[in-house]
Amino acid sequence: MTAILKIENLHARLTGGREIVKGVSLVVNPGEVHAIMGPNGAGKSTLSSVLVGKAGYEVTAGSVTYLGRDLLALGAAERARAGVFLAFQYPVEIPGVNNMYFLRAALNAARRGRGEPELDAAQCLKAVKAKLKLLDIGDDLLKRSVNVGFSGGEKKRNEIFQMAMLEPKLAILDETDSGLDIDALRAVSNGVNRLRDPNRAIVMITHYQRLLDYIEPDFVHVLSEGRIVASGDKTLAAELELSGYAAFGKAA
């Protein structure tokens, strides 16, 4: 079985800055859900930024392999088209761009990448309707501009909705629980759980254990000062909750 994601001894930093990720290694197989937990400044955001190819970061050592390919050699858009999806912590607003239109542009970008014919508006709407039902989302979000005037919960739900539409092989959820009340958290988590799939891997990056009550991970990793200092099953998260990150930081 080919791993979906294989990170080996990854070192990364903001271009010209000091090293933030200091030797992370991680293997994620199809069907698995991994949680990466850690305190502020542990390197969680840098890790996700490097994985999606955000400008302004540089990898100083190590490698990232995605389905057998060198992920770092691909541009941000190519990675997305190849099936890497990031649910953003802070989804940006794009005024004047209809959410539905945006979604179709994204879907068609991926389809072009695979050499498939593009979807027209009607076909796209049909596909959307099916997923809306799956995720229990109203269609009012579709008519509004991308994330403009969305509540925190709506933004996150919209991210998961996009994930459902784009059907990625690897989904990275960056602090998806931040800024959500319990009801919204439950709704978003239900969405993610419905998207668990034997062919898909999910990497959740989170600060708090509470998300893991709703989306049960197969593996939990503790990231501290740029390194994974502990890995285990979901019981590790509970342990972490009791003892705090500080105890793990030193364990390495």
Binding site: A55, A77, I94, P95, G96, V97, A106, A109, A110, Q162
Partner: protein
């Protein structure tokens, strides 16, 4: 035919000696002698077989122009223009252009292709001599018949002078007097051709009138003149310009557009301007100095300008409305893009004269590369314009770190019951927006195009459907390479 012969005789009689040197031997030539003097004006007028009154009108404008200086108040840096070095009349020379598409600059063809322009039309745009099979020609003929049934006149300006002299005489210069400004005076003296339309009372023009269907005539040039009259209760939507970039060797383009809307009439005037913008270093490109103005002459008349300005090295243009009739309405929707070394100083003037007049201004300026983009607008409410209202929204979008956006709104209100609102924003395409789009699979250029189109949405939705689609593509092409 006899008319033009008569006219020539009249001109000969009227112009005396100057005529001898000026153009008697050149009359069959395709170009006026270089330089600009009264003989040049006479040459043009004679070449077009114009009546004496029009020649007189031109000469008056020319004399006025001689006393004027080019405006220097705009936020534009313009190299001095040698008015004497230009040629002011140049008829299309049959057979002089490229013989086939193979002879046309491949870069130009690539752009046409990106815009999705059908092959036959690409040829026409590139100046290839196209035979009569060319679609637009037959389309234009069909159009003419349909329009004639409704009593609508739509023809070249020259034809209007010949066939409908009374209408031309009545309205020409009534909105933009020749002496209005330096460039309108120049245009009035030397205009080569243009478009004329008249919509009779109560008639709703059944199709968009467009210069697109008169590509060949559009080639006529630097100094076009457009006159559009919507009689009482008439409606017309007019599309100006081609959505394809016309590489024109002419440096100076000084057009005048006059609109007249009588009682309850409505004119919608849409422009997509994509003249050659010059290269990345600012070499070449059109200087676009255009005077556009519409008069709402009757009560409840309405004039709406929509413009998408992506081309030209320099754009100096303020489509305006004179709101004379009570309850008349003026609207201005604009997208202006400056990339590389392009400069634009554009906006509108809304002059409220009648009671309860309303105006709306929505301006979207996009600057990229080293482009400089200025919105300049005047909202003027005269003492009798009780209850006048204006809403202005003025947004600037910056791409990159070397461009500039400027906003210069003038507000002059002379009646206490007026209500004026002005909103302005300046924003940048953020790295986060780009990443967000790229993370969803869009390339950087697709992302920029998407964000810019969203930014311009309020303006683009004012364009007729098929024009809006082409304008969207054009925005993308204009901004190619603007990021990264």
């Amino acid at each position: 035919m006899s008319l033009s012969v008569d006219t020539l005789d009249t001109v000969r009689a009227a112009t005396g000696d100057g005529y001898k040197y000026g153009f008697v031997t050149d009359i069959e030539a395709d170009e006026a002698p270089p330089g600009l003097n009264e003989d040049t004006v006479r040459f043009i007028s004679a070449k077009k077989g114009e009546p004496a009154w029009l020649l007189e009108w031109r000469l008056k404008a020319f004399r006025r122009w001689q006393t004027m200086t080019a405006p220097d108040w705009s936020n534009l840096s313009i190299a001095p223009i040698d008015y004497q070095g230009s040629t002011y009349y140049s008829a299309p020379k049959p057979g002089a252009g490229p013989k086939s598409l193979d002879e046309v600059d491949p870069e130009l063809l690539k752009t046409y292709e990106k815009l999705g322009i059908p092959l036959g039309e690409r040829a026409a745009l590139a100046g290839v001599a196209v035979d009569a099979v060319f679609d637009s020609v037959s389309v234009a003929t069909t159009f003419k018949d349909t329009l004639a049934e409704k009593g609508i006149i739509f023809c070249s300006f020259g034809e209007a002078v010949r066939e409908h002299p009374d209408l031309v005489k009545q309205y020409l210069g009534s909105v933009v007097p020749p002496g209005d400004n330096f460039f309108s005076a120049l245009n009035s003296a030397v205009f080569s051709d243009g478009s004329f339309a008249y919509i009779p009372p109560g008639v709703r023009c059944p199709m968009e009138l467009s210069t697109y269907f008169r590509i060949n005539a559009a080639k006529s040039g630097q100094f076009e003149r457009t006159l559009l009259i919507a009689d009482k209760g008439a409606y017309v939507s007019y599309l100006e310009g081609c959505t394809a970039p016309q590489r024109d060797e002419h440096q100076l383009h000084a057009a005048v557009v006059e609109l007249v809307a009588l009682e309850d009439a409505e004119i919608k005037y849409s422009t997509v301007q994509n003249w050659y913008p010059g290269d990345a270093e600012g070499r070449g490109g059109i200087y676009n100095f255009v005077t556009k103005r519409g008069a709402c002459r009757g009560d409840r008349a309405k004039i709406a300008w929509t413009q998408v300005e992506t081309g030209s090295a320099i754009t100096w243009k303020y489509p305006s409305c004179l709101l004379e009739g009570d309850g008349s309405v003026g609207e201005f929707y604009s997208v202006a893009i400056t990339n590389n070394r392009q400069q634009a100083d554009t906006g509108t003037k809304m002059i409220h004269l009648g009671r309860n007049t309303r105006s709306t201004v929505v301006s979207k300026g996009i600057s990229a590369g080293r482009g400089q983009n200025t919105y300049r607008g005047l909202i003027k409410v005269m003492p009798k314009a009780d209850g006048a209202r204006n809403y202005t929204q003025c947004d600037s979008l910056l791409i990159g770190k070397t461009c500039g956006a400027h906003t210069v709104p003038y507000i002059d209100v002379r009646t206490p019951s007026a209500r004026i609102e002005h909103e302005a924003t300046t924003s940048k395409i953020s790295d986060d927006q780009l990443l967000y789009c790229q993370q969803r699979g869009l390339t950087q250029e697709e992302a920029v195009s998407l964000i810019v189109n969203g930014f311009c949405k309020e303006v683009l939705k004012e364009l007729p459907m098929e024009f809006a689609v082409e304008a969207q593509k054009l925005l993308a092409v204009s901004l190619e390479g603007s990021v990264g």
